[in-house]
Symmetry: C2
Subunit: 493 residues, 2 copies
């Protein structure tokens, strides 16, 4: 058994909460942990806790690898777990990503079965989840590709559907046995969704998949042979070939180049829709694809006008409106059917019926080169976290939290000096080999080019304000000499 | 000739741009200078430049006095002007405020004529303005109360109207001679406004007034005698009596108490509507009372969907919507008839037809004790300005700009230490009698209880980041020992 978590999503539909360096899977707006940590928890529930060493794989792009690893390293439980990071040579959608993961699993475990989980969905865990996966794993033993279908609770038009050959018979309270799949259908219109609901043999496509690694690769290959003219099948053989070469040697230049040239294809189109060996396990677990900012509405009950205030905002007289603010005061007055999502450096105000189109805003901001699409305000680190408080011409100010017993890397900067002011706790500061301790309201100056390290050698949290001053303040002005977390590729602290 | 500028308005309808300590008259969103500085400029145009010493009076409440004086002192031209600040013992609306100003003018200049200007209107200056005032000043010579009426350009329902006995005949291109006033009417409904427009003898009430000081006081007294039962006339005699006593001695305890007990009355109700000696000068100067946030729309032309983006925001597909952001990224998507106004620490999103009700938001925030109604983010000082960048638990961070040759006061704090990091320029820092100079990227630490002063003795601007750390960070933790601007009452720097 292997869990493969696809964490390559950029989550542009969740802007401004999500950013390039903090996509939806890394947000913890739905609970204490992020959606990614939730996926790891669910993966672990299925795997034998004793045997899960080497069985959990996260597929991620190179540009997000550092930030995502830091995110996992900062978690109290998952920080010390053994996780295999599979780096996509390029973002080519789920078919190439899954092919690469399957090829890697196949090499080390020729009977390996993969449970593929999206990293950015909100899904119930616990007994019903485990039972659902158990049915799917059994059904995958014969080489089938087994999907998980949610039993519809309404005529939803925002999801794709899976049609099975018959209506499900519940095996238990919530889970049916696996059924053969007739076809996958795109998001339907309302009338069609009503028909699907009453027909009883249509299920929401959850995007989860259970299959043997060799079956995934074989089905991708066979899909092309059986449907040589299907546009989506083009290049499947190359995909599997490139994946297997990369699995054998991740630095194989030719294979890397081949992978980068693959068409961007979802696995649904490249294999599931073309294969005859596809099953669906109907289930009734709670699930949301967190497909738009409207998903935030699960966080609180609306008032008598259908309006929700989530966070510290205030509303007067708005109807069917959601006012979400994480840091600042947001006031809404007399609005209708509107969603407001506020973060420290950016705010979105959208008509609810346009919530699916937030990517248009991200596209426009990207076109302008606006920084608000890239960097998150808060970034987790194995030693704690930092939050960008403010940026001005020639300076930037961060709040830095260092957990007890932790240290930032030993580092130097060529183009900025730093000033650390302790707000809470005691800092151990090493500058050019000289160590000192500074307490609350004390400060220390780190000149440009000085070799320095910040540590918290005490039992309580350390909070400092860092003012960096200089003409260039990019995160890449760092030279790292020693790091207790063995980070080499990262650019930050 | 005396100019009396009423600057007591709290401007709650302009939140979040306006705050208690930065009301509408102090905002410079409509140009380089604030509305108050604009009023000072117009006042000066009417007065003989050589003779305006002692002729300009600003009426303001005690709680705003420091901030408003600093605002004027920071202005390159008005900072060195002689301005008489008339402090209202309590905010009692325009009738008591104007009575106090008239009593003061009457004492030093018994033939004094007052031009009363609201501090928070946007008004054309230049020749047409001077000509209008000239006609009004002439008309006031006989003891009349002379109002300025704007010739309507449409059936406006947001203003009060002044009805004259006949339609105006233009004296010049834009200004008519003064006409007797029949009555003042409240904001009309649309049909009535259409009638007023076609009748030709109705004018928008600009709130400006020209009258002899003695006429103002006499008319207030006579209004009560002639209309003893009019609720709005009650207490007029007391008002004039209290105003004259306060003008004679601003520390007269009994008069102060009497003033504080006066009813809150606008001058329109207390005198203009009850007097038979009222005239109107119809004019066509450009004018706006800046009555709601929709006034921001004058700043830019709408796009083909009627939408305006003012500042650094972005819009996709909104109609008849205004997106105003001064600091941060605000994205609007698919909205209709909505106004968004963003500031560093607070954002308002309102249906345009509710723009007049922004005070409901301010009321609610005040009820909660929210800081976002009180302090402005940026505050002008005679030596430059400061901007609050961020506040956290145990610290706050400001950017401070000190103009060449200027100094903050010599001061100390009991409950916070300060860290100054120079970003641009050279700071001269005095700590407990020791002076030093620090340049860009250098920093200095000011312990609690240390006597300190920051100066800019160089020719270019000085910019520093100040990090204050301590358990209590209120602006009132300051003890001031020496100040080159002779500020005594102020609490800040």
């Amino acid at each position: 058994m292997h869990a493969v978590i696809l964490a390559g999503g950029s989550g542009t539909r969740f802007w401004p909460l999500s950013r390039e360096q903090a996509p939806k899977q890394m947000l913890n707006v739905f609970g204490q942990d992020s959606l990614l940590i939730g996926a790891l928890d669910r993966a672990q529930q299925m795997l034998d806790a004793q045997a899960c060493e080497g069985q959990i794989h996260i597929v991620v792009g190179q540009s997000l690898l550092d930030e995502l690893r830091n995110h996992v390293l900062a978690h109290p439980k998952w920080g010390s777990a053994s996780i295999n990071y599979i780096v996509e040579p390029a973002a080519r959608n789920t078919a190439p990503a899954l092919a690469l993961a399957a090829a890697l699993v196949e090499r080390c475990d020729e009977d390996g079965c993969i449970v593929m989980l999206p990293a950015d969905h909100l899904t119930e865990d616990g007994p019903r989840w485990v039972e659902t996966m158990g049915v799917a794993i059994d059904a995958a033993a014969d080489g089938s590709l087994v999907t998980i279908g949610l039993v519809p609770t309404g005529p939803e038009t925002g999801f794709g559907y899976i049609e099975s050959d018959s209506a499900h018979t519940k095996q238990t309270d919530s889970v049916s046995s696996a059924l053969p799949v007739i076809r996958f259908v795109e998001k339907p219109d309302h009338d069609t969704a009503v028909e699907y609901l009453s027909a009883g043999n249509f299920y929401w496509n959850s995007g989860m998949l259970v299959a043997r690694a060799d079956a995934i690769l074989t089905q991708l290959e066979e899909a092309q042979i059986a449907h040589p003219d299907a546009p989506s099948a083009a290049g499947n053989n190359d995909m599997v070939k490139a994946a297997r070469l990369l699995a054998a040697d991740s630095r194989d230049e030719a294979a890397l180049e081949d992978f980068k040239q693959l068409a961007k294809e979802p696995f649904d189109k490249a294999a599931l829709e073309l294969s005859s060996k596809v099953k669906v396990v109907p289930t009734s677990i709670d699930w949301s694809d967190v497909g738009s900012l409207l998903a935030l509405e699960v966080l609180t009950q609306p008032n008598e006008r259908g309006t929700r205030v989530i966070g510290q905002g205030v509303d007067v007289d708005s109807t069917n409106t959601t006012n979400y603010s994480s840091h600042r005061m947001v006031a809404t007055l007399g609005l209708h059917d509107t969603i407001v999502v506020d973060t420290a450096d950016a705010t979105l105000v959208a008509a609810k019926d346009r919530a699916q189109d937030v990517r248009l805003i991200v596209d426009e901001l990207t076109r302008r080169g606006a920084p608000e699409t890239k960097q998150s305000q808060t970034s987790k680190r194995p030693w704690g976290s930092w939050t960008m408080l403010t940026r001005g011409i020639g300076y930037q100010v961060k709040e830095i939290e260092v957990m007890p017993g932790q240290s930032l890397s030993l580092q130097k900067h060529q183009q900025r000096s730093e000033h650390w002011i302790v707000i809470e706790g005691t800092a151990t500061v090493e500058i050019d080999g000289q160590a000192s301790q500074i307490g609350p309201s004390q400060s220390v100056f780190i000149p440009m080019d000085a070799l320095h390290r910040l540590s918290n050698n005490h039992d309580s949290i350390l909070r400092i304000v860092e003012v960096a001053a200089g003409a260039y303040l990019g995160e890449d002005d760092i030279e790292r000499f020693d790091d207790q977390y063995a980070r080499i590729t990262g650019v930050e602290a």
